[in-house]
């Protein structure tokens, strides 16, 4: 069985977020008249895509690390932040829409589409930013927000265009949601890759061939649950080594008493890395490559 990479996983998760949100959104829309007022209706309806897309995309890092606990934690956090984003984004989009209609009543459909697109872009931001919050990385949050904004705007724009069709709105809305979820993850992945500092490729052991993108200024590697996980390797402490990135320069540090770090087979406690360097920490060997 061929291995799949991070990009494929993230894009699939975005797609699944769109797919899973569709039936509940349709249910809420079909019951619109039962809501006591528009505010509650909007909050309920816009919450759903944000919630499901946040949930599925939040699973990404956990799946990549084959960590069930991290998958569940990421899913729950993604769900909460995505839901908040769904409410905020949809609500602000609707407010913009009302404002445009009220104060520019002769406006054409283009401006109305713009208002709704901005709303979906805000939903995308909140979905994209959740993994950055989970990993407490401002940089990851910014990348996620950028990707989420563009993906949400693009997918949301198409969703709105497709929703205009009255005869088969439900299936067109499905297509729009799938596209929005996919676009959020595509742009998230695009920014994640474009602004990555490099790739750590595992050279040996059970994870041989697996690649980890260096997309945070501080990353820990070890057997612990908050690190890039190498729990199935010998001689790995909870936090075996740390990677620091400053002004684009990657430094590997091992500040434990029992030092077990080698760069190009030379023992070290702290070394500035260059692409092509071979790092050995505990029993795991890694190759630093450019993106």
């Amino acid at each position: 069985m061929n291995k799949i990479n991070k990009n494929t996983i993230m894009i699939t998760l975005g797609f699944l977020g769109g797919l899973s949100s569709w039936p509940l959104l349709e249910l809420v829309l079909s019951k619109q008249s039962l809501f006591s007022n528009y505010l509650v209706f909007f909050m309920t309806a816009t919450l759903i895509p944000g919630l499901f897309m946040g949930l599925f995309m939040g699973c990404g890092e956990g799946l990549l690390n084959k960590s069930t606990s991290r998958t569940i934690k990421g899913a729950v956090l993604g769900l909460v932040i995505g839901a908040i984003g769904g409410i905020l984004g949809g609500f602000i989009g609707q407010l913009l829409l009302v404002g445009i209609i009220q104060y520019f009543p002769d406006t054409d459909m283009g401006l109305i589409l713009l208002a709704r697109t901005i709303g979906w872009a805000l939903v995308g931001i909140c979905v994209g930013v959740s993994e950055g919050i989970r990993s407490r990385s401002l940089r990851k949050m910014m990348l996620g927000a950028s990707g989420g904004f563009l993906g949400g705007a693009m997918g949301g724009f198409v969703l709105e265009l497709l929703s205009r069709n009255e005869s088969s709105g439900t299936y067109l809305r499905l297509a729009g949601l799938l596209l929005m979820g996919t676009m959020i993850s595509v742009f998230y992945t695009f920014f994640d890759k474009k602004y990555s500092f490099g790739i750590l490729r595992v050279l040996n052991g059970s994870q041989a061939g697996k690649e980890y993108r260096i997309n945070q200024k501080k990353m820990d590697l070890g057997s612990g649950n908050r690190t890039i996980i190498f729990s199935d390797y010998d001689q790995m402490s909870d936090k075996e080594i740390q990677l620091n990135v400053e002004k684009g320069v990657i430094t590997v540090i091992d500040d434990k008493v029992e030092n077990n770090l080698y760069v190009n087979e030379k023992a070290t406690v702290k070394t500035q890395l260059k692409y092509g360097d071979v790092i050995k920490a505990g029993s795991v060997k890694l190759l630093l490559e450019a993106e």
Partner: protein
């Protein structure tokens, strides 16, 4: 005082046209998303066209429909008479400045400016503007002939309006047409961005007399476009603006009557400068004294919702107006398809399958993963005791290489007794970035040769 003025007007002028006794002149949905309330501005008059004061909420009914056929009564949440006295009005004054406005009121030519219709119109407008002192009303001025020209946009600086009136000059021969419809349409568009109550008062001494129709060539400003009453009504309604009309002089435009009625306004007849001043004042008084209703709407989906008001005791209905009530999601399905719920467990099933996917490729047998200088990657299983890596076609693994670089060969040798693989080379190659000529390999070792990166994999 208000009653006295209205009574005087009713005796002095003959109102040629009356709208319904109750008319919706404005609609506001800005708070609907928060509290589900829609606001209406309404004018209520008796059968002589005189404003009725003191109407109570109990006498009124608001009806709403999503299809303009079946109407449902809505609860009135708030009611107030004379709401615009506090908030002020946006008044756009639209003046006919065609050639005939420089004749006397009875239609005779004159060289004395003070005897012209335009002089009377300007004087009446000055009186109106001066009467606005101390109020929150805003005003703007435009004129039309062959062209439409905005002199001052709507603002609270009323001195600008007075000053701009001096800029109205007699048109030349080619400028003397009466683009009445085009002017109303353009004016409605220009005031659209103003917030609050909006009215346009158009004064004309004749009928729509477009350049392109008469000259049979494109108008310098409006091209070949000829604007209909329906277009004017649509534009005014979309912009929540009410049109009031004043016929001054001998000419009459037949379509103007329909437009003012449909938009909740009035059409007046004036014969003197004094008549004009009183009519302008009357229009302002009418709008200031409008009734304001807030009612609770429901959340049933519709791109537009149609509204009308009823004066119950007289069984009189207003014309129907509408507001935009679409949502960010567009049109919902008529019925929910429960089978679609399967998409949720399906998504989680696919998530589970995704979690089972391999993210790594641990080697089961000894192999070499070769990434050449172009970035292309290939995997070669090591089957023989000697595997030659080089640039020749006869080598076991042929590297695509840059011909400018010095070329080298290496051999991976398997020692059956020790069960180890060794890299051997005549010239130095790099293993884990260290130069070697011979070196026993361990899983994960990286060999660099001729610009290619080769990873030695083996089961550990």
């Amino acid at each position: 005082m208000k009653k006295i003025i209205l009574m005087v007007i009713s005796f002095v002028f003959s109102f040629s046209v009356y709208s319904d006794n109750i008319s919706i002149s404005g609609i506001d949905t800005s708070s609907m998303i928060f509290d589900g309330k829609v606001s209406l501005y309404m004018t209520i008059t008796d059968d002589q066209g005189i404003l009725i004061e003191g109407v109570q909420a109990e006498s009124l009914e608001v009806l709403e429909s999503i299809n303009n056929k079946t109407f449902t009564e809505r609860d009135i949440a708030f009611f107030k008479e004379g709401i615009n006295e506090n908030n002020g009005i946006n008044i756009q004054l639209l003046i006919d400045n065609s050639g005939s406005m420089y004749e006397t009121i009875s239609g005779e030519e004159t060289d004395i400016y003070e005897n012209t219709r335009i002089y009377s119109a300007i004087s009446a407008i000055k009186t109106l503007i001066n009467s606005m002192k101390g109020s929150n009303d805003k005003a703007g001025v435009s004129y039309f002939n062959t062209y439409y020209k905005e002199l001052v946009p709507i603002s609270s600086n009323r001195n600008l309006v007075l000053e701009s009136l001096q800029m109205i000059e007699e048109p030349g021969k080619d400028e003397s047409f009466t683009e009445l419809n085009a002017a109303v349409l353009t004016s409605a568009g220009e005031i659209s961005s103003n917030r609050g109550r909006k009215i346009i008062i158009v004064l004309s001494d004749g009928e729509n007399y477009p350049y392109s129709l008469v000259r049979e060539e494109d108008s310098p400003q409006f091209g070949s476009s000829l604007f209909t009453s329906e277009q004017m009504i649509s534009e005014l309604k979309q912009n929540s603006a009410t049109l009031y009309g004043i016929n001054f002089g001998t000419g009459r435009d037949q379509s103007l009557e329909q437009v003012v009625i449909e938009t909740g306004g009035f059409l007046y007849e004036a014969e003197t400068e004094e008549d004009l001043a009183l009519i302008y004042q009357n229009i302002r008084e009418r709008v200031l004294s409008e009734y304001y209703i807030e009612y609770n709407t429901d959340t049933v989906y519709s791109e537009k919702k149609f509204v009308k008001a009823v004066l119950k005791e007289k069984s009189v209905e207003s014309g129907t107006t509408y507001y935009f009530s679409g949502t960010i999601f567009g049109n919902p399905s008529a019925e929910f398809n429960w089978i679609s719920i399967i998409a949720i467990p399906l998504s989680f099933l696919l998530l589970f399958l995704l979690a089972l996917q391999k993210l790594s490729n641990p080697a089961e047998k000894p192999e070499l993963e070769v990434k050449d200088f172009s970035g292309a990657t290939q995997i070669f299983n090591i089957k023989d005791n000697k595997t030659v890596i080089g640039t020749s076609d006869n080598d076991d693994i042929t590297l695509a290489t840059d011909n400018d670089l010095p070329q080298n060969n290496a051999t991976i040798v398997y020692d059956e007794k020790k069960s180890v693989y060794t890299v051997v080379s005549e010239k130095e190659v790099m293993v884990n970035n260290n130069p070697v000529k011979t070196r026993i390999l361990e899983p994960g070792d990286v060999i660099s040769i001729d610009g290619a990166t080769i990873v030695f994999n083996d089961k550990e």
